[in-house]
């Protein structure tokens, strides 16, 4: 069985751990130059503030009722690490999928014990870190994701829902589920499926896999198998949450060499930046992670990730590669046989909607145009002559994070001079 564990409103929950006064209050977290809303509490969602809404466009009458904070990436990164540490008490098989989502593998655990096990995990994370999580359990990632959605929406589950693939209750859920709620099924695909008489997730599960492959793609065929409970989509191929781009691969063989890791991180970061430009987005932060093979119990284990804000929203390969390498430097430890590393670009925004912040203004319009055409040339060369023809190779040591962040809360857990104050 597989569990998808997801932190509820993660950034807001991190803030509330140290600011109990924000409990039950509409809270939004803004992107790193205070441009738009990147995380929302349930209360601010109820007020109609949309994800990605530019802060200056929120109705002043609503804005007055809300607390809007700048993003505090040092805090979120540290809290994310603590949460993942708690998971490791429950299984060695952890795949970080985003800053606030992880897949936990429970192979070899007895199925009927898993709900209780995950309820205990949920209580444990809440107690140790203050962060509320939801858990979805099933035998494939796609079904685990759907179970997670149920756990979050329906209070009766107490935060942990299981969808056994062949259980009648799973059928009921799938029959009521619109196609677009399935991981990786976009609106266009859904419309085409409906013309074939496939309207619900259950209809898709019952469709002929071969026919779907011929009419659509191998990916959609795999989704059918996933809905039947067969775990067949590798994590690296899973459809991404809208707010992130993940590029990661396992090494062909285990390696302890920092050079191998550096090369891989450089490649992942370049590839991620390329994808970013392909979809006309900019990233505001990135996460780098490294891990050893949890199934090699004979080897020392190490797993670590770090979240680093980008100096400004960007799709520039050079900035992204440089930042990713700096992140790697912070988490690499010698003496381990690494199995996998990856780079996740996160808190994305539309290139068009990007606001010119001070940094970018200083950078000068002319230079931006030049950079834009440089990046376009880079992508073109890689497209025409094969990926990796031209890559970004020079990493500068001057990584000065200059964020606006006027409303950032203290870095409670990573700075001696910013510790939370307790009134005596």
């Amino acid at each position: 069985m597989i569990a998808l564990v997801d932190c509820n409103n993660f950034y807001v929950s991190c803030e509330r751990v140290f600011r109990p006064d924000l409990e039950k209050c509409p809270v939004g977290v803004l992107s790193n130059n205070d441009g738009c809303v990147v995380a929302r509490s349930a209360e601010i969602k109820a007020l109609g503030v949309a994800m990605g809404a530019p802060a200056h466009q929120i109705d002043p009458r609503i804005k007055r009722q809300c607390v809007l904070l700048s993003s505090n990436y040092a805090l979120y990164g540290d809290m994310s690490r603590r949460v993942t540490d708690v998971y490791s008490h429950y299984t060695p098989d952890i795949d970080v999928y985003s800053i606030d989502e992880s897949f936990l593998g429970f192979d070899g655990f007895e199925e009927k014990t898993l709900v209780d096990r995950c309820l205990a995990l949920r209580r444990h994370v809440r107690r140790d870190t203050g962060i509320p999580v939801s858990v979805g359990l099933s035998s494939s990632k796609t079904l685990a994701k759907l179970a997670n959605h149920l756990a979050k929406k329906q209070p009766a589950y107490q935060g942990v829902a299981m969808l056994p693939p062949d259980h009648p209750s799973t059928r009921q859920v799938l029959e009521r589920l619109p196609l677009t709620e399935i991981w990786g099924v976009a609106g266009r695909t859904a419309a085409k499926l409906q013309q074939l008489g496939i309207h619900s997730a259950w209809d898709l599960r019952e469709a002929d896999p071969k026919r779907i492959r011929t009419l659509f793609s191998v990916v959609l065929e795999r989704t059918i198998w996933e809905l039947r409970g067969v775990d067949c989509i590798p994590l690296d191929d899973m459809a991404q949450p809208k707010q992130q781009i993940m590029t990661s691969r396992s090494f062909g063989r285990l390696t302890g060499h920092v050079n191998d890791l550096r090369e891989a991180v450089r490649a992942h970061a370049s590839r991620g930046a390329e994808k970013l430009r392909g979809q006309s987005s900019l990233a505001r932060a990135l996460m780098v992670f490294v891990k050893t093979n949890p199934f090699r119990a004979d080897l020392p284990q190490y797993s670590r990730s770090v979240l680093v804000p980008l100096p400004h929203p960007t799709d520039d390969s050079r900035v992204i590669v440089r930042t990713a390498i700096a992140g790697l430097r912070a988490i690499y430890r010698p003496g381990f046989a690494y199995q996998k590393c990856g780079v996740m670009l996160t808190d994305l925004c539309d290139r068009e909607g990007e606001q010119l912040d001070m940094m970018v203004e200083q950078q000068g319009i002319r230079e931006r145009i030049r950079n834009g055409s440089l990046m376009a040339t880079l992508d073109k060369l890689n497209r025409e002559h094969g990926r990796g023809t031209v890559t970004v190779g020079i990493a500068s040591k001057n990584a000065a994070w200059h964020l606006r962040g006027e409303r950032r809360t203290p870095r409670y857990t990573t700075r001696w001079d910013e510790l939370p104050l307790v009134k005596l």
Binding site: P20, E23, V86, T413, T414, V422
Partner: protein
């Protein structure tokens, strides 16, 4: 007269450790026969902190706990994973504010007890409060100008 016992040498060669790094994730491979003869360096963080991912540092502000030895500016080590017991010093959120008091009873009713006669006990019944963590240690600097 205070009796002092020397426990060992303070290790000055290791890098300064931030709490998150002190989880001790490095595991050794095969034990070496020499291990029995090698003295461990004393790691204060590992000694004091049992649950690294649940432990947070906080800064004390105010005068209500002086008789329990907690002074303004002291560094509190707070473990969220412990169940609060009668007599524990807690970090607790009262009306949305984090405060530090000892948990105790007056008569049969649980109260937050200050350790300074000029402060009043806070009855827990009917109060909007939530235990945040248990204070396991207090770091109080005795020399002027040293880190605290």
């Amino acid at each position: 007269m205070i009796h002092l016992e020397i426990l060992g040498r303070v290790d000055q060669t290791t890098l300064p450790i931030a709490l998150p790094l002190a989880a001790g994730e490095v595991r050794a491979g095969f034990p070496s026969p020499a291990d029995d003869y090698l003295e461990q360096e004393l790691d204060l963080v590992a000694h004091l902190i049992q649950h690294p991912s649940a432990t947070f540092y906080m800064r004390a502000k105010g005068a209500s706990m002086v008789r329990d030895g907690i002074y303004d500016g002291d560094l509190l080590i707070v473990d969220r994973s412990l169940d609060p017991k009668d007599g524990d010093v807690l970090v607790i959120s009262v009306d949305g504010e984090l405060t530090c008091k000892r948990l105790g009873k007056i008569g049969n009713l649980p109260h937050l007890l200050p350790a300074n006669p000029s402060f009043q006990p806070i009855p827990l019944e009917g109060a909007d409060c939530q235990v945040w963590g248990v204070v396991t240690h207090n770091v109080h600097a005795l020399r002027r100008g040293v880190a605290r």
